[in-house]
Assembly symmetry: C2
Homo-oligomer: 245 residues x 2
């Protein structure tokens, strides 16, 4: 069940209009096509090791990857969740600053780094889109800093669920209100690494939100939200809803 993504034409690519190539004209796309190749990773596999030389940059085509940082004694913090169309790697830097790991099975559209860098210098549409995406990620990282620095465990969990729910709702173009339900793409431990908590605390707070009727669970991974506004209240967010990811 691997590598049916042997080579897809960019025109047929599912992330064509959201990834770094979103604004490219057909001729620019042809240039990208020449330096791209697909790679598949199994869930749990490391895509890039922190400190390693990066020979490619690229986009997540399908699946979910995570960006993590680990201290010498093993403490770990997830610093980004990479969804389809998100960009991986840093043009202009030779070694990776963070670990990139496949959370689910992942397909990446990779570009050889050197040619991609020259392409950026010559193709404004790619650089512009990359700038836009990077600014969005920076805003998301800063929102996350508020969560990590100031929110309680309960608020952290509520925030995570509401972010996933809002994203789901946005993707399905449904109105992000009233009844909705989502699948958590992360284990309790991964949630803990993302939220700066222990897995036990994650589990306890999910149970507490369930007990208080803010969410209901079907199995461990599937969450139903009877009242999104209630959840957002628990998350401590201003109701405007600054989007993340």
């Amino acid at each position: 069940m691997q590598d049916h993504f042997v080579h897809v034409q960019c025109g047929d690519c599912p992330i064509r209009h959201r990834a770094v190539c979103a604004r490219c004209e057909t001729d620019e796309l042809a240039q990208l096509e020449q330096i791209k190749y697909y790679r598949s990773f199994q869930a749990g596999q490391t895509i890039i090791w922190s400190g390693d030389r990066m020979e490619f940059v690229g986009s997540v085509v399908s699946g979910i990857a995570s960006l993590t940082q680990t201290m010498e004694d093993g403490r770990r913090q997830m610093v980004g969740l990479l969804l389809p169309s998100d960009f991986v790697g840093r043009p202009g830097r030779s070694t990776a600053a963070f670990d990139v790991t496949a959370t689910t099975d992942v397909v990446m559209c990779c570009f050889r780094k050197k040619p991609f860098e020259t392409l950026i210098a010559e193709t404004p549409h790619i650089a512009q889109r990359l700038l836009e995406m990077t600014l969005d990620e920076l805003d998301a990282a800063r929102e996350w800093m508020l969560l990590l620095g100031r929110k309680t465990a309960r608020e952290k969990i509520a925030s995570l669920i509401s972010i996933i729910a809002r994203r789901e709702a946005a993707l399905n173009k449904k109105k992000a209100t009233g009844q909705l339900s989502v699948d958590l793409p992360l284990t309790r431990e991964e949630m803990a690494d993302y939220l700066g908590l222990t897995l036990e605390t994650v589990s306890r707070q999910i149970s507490a939100l369930k007990k208080d009727g803010v969410i209901t669970l079907e199995g461990n991974r599937h969450v139903s939200i009877p009242d999104l506004d209630r959840l957002l209240e628990e998350a401590g967010d201003d109701t405007d809803g600054g989007m993340l990811v």
Copy 2:
């Protein structure tokens, strides 16, 4: 003592080679010159309110500004420290996502937003430099997420001091080793907001580091570091020293 920065030629600007204009040729500089103006802010003054319409973007020329986020109940998290040459604002978005406050007296080199956006679209050197700076900030934000999510109060303080010390050392082109000393540009409360702590905990941990001989204090703001390696050890960083800011 205000506004002696009435209008400086870009060629004479102290941040000419580090700011968003770093790569501009003389003709590009001339275009920037036409849409720029200086503004001064006193310490404590708000430069931009979160949610407000941004009519300008720009660079910090002198002084220190901070980027903060506040929850409804008053909990506050600093999400960025803006030093001379750092960029403020987000081309392509109409309202500000965070408060920007002058920590010391600040001089900003402002560009009217609309013309700046068109300039970006037409002048690759500006967009490229802005991309580079944004990627650096994103890396710094992610380093900070590890600090906020996983470090102890003592490690947080040691990290903050070592970051300021390393920056100082880099600026003065001195070797970042052995004896060195720095001025903290922040009050205890501002440090607390940056580190996700209370000001009491900040004070306690500074006292503890002093008692243990990791630092010495002269007055409240001036810190001497007898042994930088010792401080880095306390910070819990891998010795490679991923740079921040």
